[in-house]
Subunit: 242 residues, 2 copies
Amino acid sequence: MDTSSKAGKQAGAKSAKREHPQTGGRRDRNKREKVARITAAARTLFHAKGYTKTTTQEVAEAADIGAGTLFLYAKSKEDLLILVFKDEMSQLIEEVYGTIRKNASLLDQTESLFDGFIEYHRRDVVIARALIRELSFSGNPGRRKDVLTIPEAIIEKLVHFVSAARARDEIRADIDPAEAARCLFAIYYQQLQTWLGTYVSHSAFKQNMHVLLKFVIDGMSVGVIRKTEPSRNKRASRTGKR
Amino acid sequence: MDTSSKAGKQAGAKSAKREHPQTGGRRDRNKREKVARITAAARTLFHAKGYTKTTTQEVAEAADIGAGTLFLYAKSKEDLLILVFKDEMSQLIEEVYGTIRKNASLLDQTESLFDGFIEYHRRDVVIARALIRELSFSGNPGRRKDVLTIPEAIIEKLVHFVSAARARDEIRADIDPAEAARCLFAIYYQQLQTWLGTYVSHSAFKQNMHVLLKFVIDGMSVGVIRKTEPSRNKRASRTGKR
DNA sequence: TGGAATATATGACTCTACTCATAAATGAGT
DNA sequence: ACTCATTTATGAGTAGAGTCATATATTCCA
């Protein structure tokens, strides 16, 4: 069985005798239905009782499958958590990205993006905690691709923001958007964990995030030279940025 | 019971009738001995069999205590991991810090510090993985202080480096060493997790670390103006830095 | 349609982290 | 030394995640 999304091992010109990787067959449909039932049941129970207090038995019952069957779809209880939330996370990223003003400053855009994620996690901090924990250290190799998709998607959005900021000379021309994006993401992720690990309050977290993101972005901004004025100014910039 | 180091609930002018928080008594000595036996046994077994394959029963037996007694000293198996390695980590930080050239560049110093930690974790990546996982999301509130000690100690060292770099005009005067340190730490920690989560190879990890640390430090360096030459240069810097 | 090949389902079972009622040990006051 | 309050120790017991031999379902091909 394989719930890690990678489109049925691509039915190319393979040689093996029998293969049943159809996308419309009854078997496949059953599988999809079952995954849907499992994720729905698990999501409901996790939110209602919390992750740790929900037993895999309960999830299996609610999904109307055998106790052992569950582990054909999720290798472990933690893996189940990823199975349940990975799509929701990807969707969230796109949704939040869609709400962000294209003409805002890089700092504002970055903070808005992260704020969107943070508000989402705030709806159920306990689950967020377990989820981020698992996403950071997923033990199931088969799920690696799914897990990596999430930070990659976030970084992709950040690259857009940084590139745009560079194009409008908000930051220096020598800034590599990919590096900048990974850097901003690292700060977000580490701070997020500090928050979810209940080491700091929500407000302190937001405050820290702001300070550190500003720190990095200021580092990209200082010393910018407008294309229109080839020389003359000594160092400039640092103005009007929030 | 309380294995989280905080010196016997400070015997101040409290009112409670009986208190036995002595430091030299037989009770206290027994406790210390037991903790020592437990950590020694656990460390040995973890390295020999790996963390997951080692059972708490085995640790209890090796430490010559009852199975239930173990949980008087560590609230959970994960907590045991922290109990075992927290002191080793603190010691490591000091040791590595001691080996670093005081006149090296900020980037070199930062990388050397992190490299020291990385090499340590490399000796047993599986345990490192479990340990960092736990340190990031420790579930035992009583251990919070111990856990926080570690990043704080690292950040403290980074503050030293950044302050010194600022003092010698390697970075701009307006840089806040505390912010810079937390920023560098965030990158280290997030990248470390990516490595330990087996999402990237060791070499890719080192490479990424270098790139991102350089990115941030360059952001602090660009636009520096030497105190000795009050004006004149337009933006300068960016030279000779590695 | 029969039936071989393969994929999926199941729940009894195992294994182990963790709990808890009970017992033992310790320290302070007398 | 004796008493008693409090702390610490213990291992049998519990709960729940994860396994596996067996059973069932699906697809392919003749």
